[in-house]
């Protein structure tokens, strides 16, 4: 769009950067969960940053072959996904006990939160840089 001419030079780049950065954070989180370089993720419904800039993640269309399911909603999660590793994008997604953690905005800043018991249930051991983001439920 031409209206965003300047923004295309100065600002849209920045917007793209924040979307790319969000994807980088998802990449880092999923890599830490799976210990895989090219983990497969299923997006329920859609997560713009990952669908636009998957980077090292493989976005798959079948929940059953996904290493991690990234959630934009916890409503009507398909049954075949429920047993997979679920990761949310809102704090409220943690209300679902099957969701091991979430990356979300709250209080004006981005946050990452994992629950210790839920990680243990899936035998997930995150690398040490995530220690401060793990809490007891």
């Amino acid at each position: 769009m031409i209206k965003l001419f300047l923004i295309s030079l100065l600002i849209t780049t920045m917007y793209a950067d924040d979307v790319k950065l969000a994807s980088s954070i998802f990449n880092t989180i999923v890599s830490s969960i799976t210990h895989k370089k090219n983990a497969a993720v299923y997006l329920y419904y859609d997560i713009e940053s990952v669908s636009r800039y998957p980077d090292k993640l493989q976005v798959v269309k079948d929940c059953s072959i996904a290493d991690v399911v990234l959630l934009s909603s916890i409503k009507d999660i398909p049954k075949e996904c429920e047993s997979e590793i679920l990761f949310g994008t809102r704090y409220s997604h943690l209300k679902n006990k099957n969701v091991i953690g979430a990356f979300f905005w709250q209080k004006g800043r981005p946050n990452i939160l994992f629950y210790r018991d839920r990680l243990a249930k899936h035998h997930i051991k995150l690398d040490k840089s995530f220690d401060k983001y793990i809490e007891n439920e």
Partner: protein
């Protein structure tokens, strides 16, 4: 800022396992102003959320007091009036304030700046100020300055915050907000109570006070393409000198004044067709009541049925309805925006009493329908060159015997942008219809007032390298039919054209990770419409933001010099914020710490000529104030 972020992004790419710094970089890159600001719309000043928080901006005045080419002023009622021309109560009809996508408006005055020019900023995420006759696609009517306030959003601010402040003279502020996101919608609610007390100025006849107590509620609910906002405000307090200006030797110092204000608005914003079409609808209702007592010394008022006025009472009601539809078309190198807008205004200022005897103003009209069309074509000549062409036309259709009016605005813009340089040229011709308070005020109104027009050219050049930005802005304006008060205390169009010149030089340096140094030097010269010598005005701003460990420190010095009919002033303000934890913060702020800021003179009696020797009350606009705050996020 952009370079800093790119630098940080690079650092993070190299060291991607550092999830902490990745999160921090993401937070900075997600600044909402990066998505809302429009560099092609005018000479832009942005206060990001980080700026507002680190500068401890409590009210809009805190940033307007250092606004390029202007100084924050208030009218004789103690209300914000950036372009004040005392003794006219309100002169800022062309300073327009928007909350998200809808204008905050009072119908009698033409803009809502007097109600919202000093509102608290605790629910605001960031502020964009467009100077230099900005783009037409913002609103129904033309503007010289557009102030866009964007509220915090549930997308970023899920959760809540409570804040308590105490300040000088027993002032206090308490507010809280809470927001959340569901799958299909999000919501944000905010409530505030402010008790803002100021110095008392003792004059012969009475004590002049400007204390105000106000409450506000703001709530919004949003889905992916639609939002609904409710905004309610109630205020009451002292009205300083009051709206009246007395004739004769006794002047017009009131023994007491008071005002009450109520405002409610309901507005919607919708986007369609992949966000290429938008529809904004808003309704507002406002009510203002003013009381002034002149006892034991009565005053003489122009337009009053009695020579000796001991008391004055007036209630003003207003209603507005605005609908705005815009559509963007992308055609090769052209981005064309077409807009059609409608605004209805109703105003009732008939409820006036002098000495408790009703004295209706019987205005010539009390309704106005405004039909506005605009067309904008942004032509991308090449990767570095953009041309903006805009035309807008309004028809003001008034009831009863008031004449209709047609006004037109034309705007040409050229923008060059490269990696380090940006140059913006704006040439505009704008016509501003007289607002109702100028035509039907029982004290100084003139129904024969013609539209005032402005021809202007602004040139902005900025250069950015090594995290340092230097900006130069030059402006020239030729004002025709400027509304002025004459020696019979009636607003008239100026008989001669008035030239105005402005120059601003700004330098911004980002250093360390989050520290920022800003310097501004501004010069303004305005020809006198009365044949006196030109008004010359200089203003300098030096501002520093530092972060050291858990402390955010802010220092600002604003120096005003020049012909303002009062002594020069400097305003040194400073603050420190201690982030005890990520969720609990303590702040200490001093405003006008040395009590030496610019003062303003108000007429104490109606001048027969606008001679500087006429008796005036001189008071600081920004008073000395110290404030302690604590906030908790949950």
């Amino acid at each position: 800022m952009k370079r800093l972020l790119l630098f940080l992004i690079c650092v993070n790419i190299i060291n991607a396992s550092e999830i902490d710094s990745l999160l921090q970089t993401y937070e900075q890159a997600s600044e909402l102003s990066e998505k809302t600001k429009d560099e092609s719309a005018g000479n832009l000043i942005v206060y990001t959320r980080e700026d507002l928080e680190r500068m401890q901006v409590e009210t809009l005045k805190d940033i307007l007091k250092s606004l390029r080419s202007f100084d924050y002023e208030e009218n004789r009622i103690g209300q914000p009036d950036l372009l004040n021309q005392d003794p006219i109560a309100y002169y800022s009809k062309s300073v327009r304030v928007y909350l998200n996508e809808n204008e905050l408006l009072t119908p009698l005055t033409g803009s809502g700046f007097l109600l919202f020019g000093d509102m608290e900023m605790d629910f605001i995420d960031h502020v964009e100020i467009y100077e230099g006759f900005p783009s037409f696609d913002f609103g129904v009517e033309p503007a010289t300055i557009v102030i866009r306030l964007y509220t915090k959003t549930a997308q970023h601010d899920a959760g809540g915050r409570i804040k308590l402040s105490v300040a000088s003279h027993g002032s206090s502020k308490t507010n809280a907000y809470y927001s959340g996101q569901e799958d299909d919608f999000s919501y944000f609610v905010y409530a505030n109570h402010l008790d803002n007390n100021k110095d008392v100025y003792q004059e012969v006849g009475g004590d002049l006070k400007r204390d105000q107590e106000s409450s506000r509620f703001y709530g919004s609910i949003s889905t992916k393409n639609h939002s609904l906002e409710l905004h309610v405000m109630q205020a009451e307090g002292d009205a300083f000198l009051g709206p009246l200006v007395g004739l004769g030797p006794s002047g017009n110092i009131p023994s007491s004044t008071s005002e009450k204000g109520q405002y409610i608005s309901l507005s919607t914003h919708s986007e369609f067709l992949n966000k290429s079409m938008s529809l904004n609808i808003s309704y507002s209702h406002d009510k203002s009541t003013f009381t002034s007592l002149y006892s034991p010394i009565p005053i003489t008022i122009k337009g009053a049925p009695t020579l000796n006025v001991n008391s004055y009472y007036q209630t003003i009601y207003g209603d507005t309805f605005t609908a705005s539809l815009k559509k963007e078309f992308e055609l090769d190198k052209h981005s064309i925006t077409v807009g059609g807008q409608y605004r209805y205004k109703y105003f009732d200022l008939d409820n006036i009493s002098f000495n408790t005897v009703p004295s209706p103003a019987n205005p010539v009209y009390n309704k106005e329908n405004i039909y506005s069309l605009f067309l904008q074509d942004l032509i991308q000549l090449s990767q570095n060159h953009l041309i903006a062409l805009s035309v807008m036309n309004q028809t003001y259709d008034r009831n009863a015997n008031m004449k209709s009016e047609n006004t037109t605005q034309l705007r040409f813009g050229y923008i060059y942008s490269s990696k380090e340089w940006i140059a913006k040229t704006f040439i505009a011709k704008q016509e501003f219809s007289p607002e109702p308070y100028m035509t039907i005020s029982p004290y100084y109104g003139n129904i024969n007032l013609k539209a005032d027009s402005y021809k202007s050219v602004f040139q902005e050049v900025s250069y950015e390298k090594n995290r340092a930005t230097t900006k130069l802005i030059l402006g020239y304006g030729l004002n025709e039919n400027t509304p002025l008060i004459d020696n019979t205390f009636t607003i008239q169009n100026a008989s001669k054209e008035i030239s105005g010149y402005s120059a601003a030089l700004e330098f911004t340096l980002l250093f360390r990770q989050r520290d920022k140094l800003e310097f501004q030097a501004n010069y303004t010269r305005l020809e006198s419409p009365y044949g006196n010598k030109d008004s010359k005005y200089h203003n300098f701003v030096l501002r520093m933001q530092n972060s050291i460990s858990q402390f955010d420190i802010f220092n600002e010095l604003v120096i005003n010099t020049g012909d303002k009919d009062v002594n020069n002033g400097y305003d040194y303000s400073a603050g420190v914020k201690y982030n005890l934890t990520r969720d609990f913060h303590l702040s200490l702020k001093g405003e006008n710490i040395f009590n030496s800021a610019l003062k303003k003179a108000y007429f104490t009696k109606l001048p027969t000529t606008l001679s500087p020797t006429t008796e005036k009350v001189i008071v600081p606009i920004i008073e000395q104030k110290f404030m302690f705050s604590m906030e908790y996020l949950f």
